[in-house]
């Protein structure tokens, strides 16, 4: 079990209400996978857009090169393979 200090932010799954911690050195995809939730990825570098997930609340920290600047600014989707969160909790459409 990770110490709380290593947790950078949390993702909340809107459909089940589950909250999953994302560690500093872990991608959101890896964090979800560690909790049995498999997100389809291809490039895992924020390029291809395979993993894009809708964001329902919170502010993502975009690191991808797939979404346009306008799409990133609207903060309603993100690439969980590389992007992170500016808010403590990111509510995602899972």
């Amino acid at each position: 079990m990770a110490a709380p200090s290593e947790i950078e932010f949390r993702v909340k799954l809107a459909r089940t209400g589950r909250t999953i911690p994302v560690l500093k050195e872990q991608s959101v995809v890896d964090a979800l996978r560690a909790h049995g939730i498999d997100i389809a990825t291809s490039c895992a570098q924020g390029v291809c857009g395979t993993c894009v997930i809708r964001v329902l609340a919170g502010e993502p920290d975009h690191w991808d090169m797939y979404l346009t600047p306008e799409e990133q600014a609207s903060n309603d989707q993100f690439c969980p393979c590389v992007s992170r969160s500016k808010s403590e909790v990111l509510v995602i459409d899972l």
Partner: protein, 257 residues
Amino acid sequence: MVFAYMGPMERMPALPLFDFLEDVPDGEEVAADDTSIGSGGDAVVPCSWLHALDNVCDPFHVPILHGLISGLQFTDVLSGMPACEFASTQRGVKVVQERERSDGTTFRRVTEAMLPNIRLVPSPRPTTFDACNKVGWIVPIDDTNHRIFTLARVPKGGIPAELYRQTFEERGWHKLSEAEHQRMPGDFEAQVSQGPIALHSEEHLATSDRGIVMLRRKLREQLTELAQGRDPVNTVIGSAEVRISVEAGKFLIGSAS
């Protein structure tokens, strides 16, 4: 070259007029070519037309395929790794590739993919710096065959295929044996060997593939537009003509030290 429109008269789109084909300098003329300039091989290319369109937005295959893998197929000015910017434009995707030269100048090469199937790629062969002077339509014959039709500005009497077709150790593709095609693969081998229709699910895209991803997204968006009954981008109805100011070309930035 003949363009045919076979839809209802009131929906006839304007023919795009490319500035570099309209403003032709003295001593030059516009010539048509049906040998698939840019395919790097046969006139009829046995794979999906989308492979050829991907090529326009993939600047890194130039130094890798045409420089490292197969020996120098273009000019040495294109053999270095470029710094690239990928941009969405009103008509498609633009790729700006810059290479610093030893004399302090910067070589800028701009390629454009204009939706749905137009390639604006400055010739990689001559070393002169100028705006792009040819435009190619990547025309699907069916799902797994295509052919590129080109309009190019040439010196009077010039033949585009002789001026702009890729060579391998100074020979054309048709003069090479199969073993030589394997030893010196070009665009034709790279695109056809992916199979008749490349499976995107089997790709391993990386950050260098950003232009290709942008292009595919834009194409998919246009399919949605069409499905919803709207006109796709680059279709202008109700106007006699549309002028296209091309950004593609090869430019030298700065002055030599």
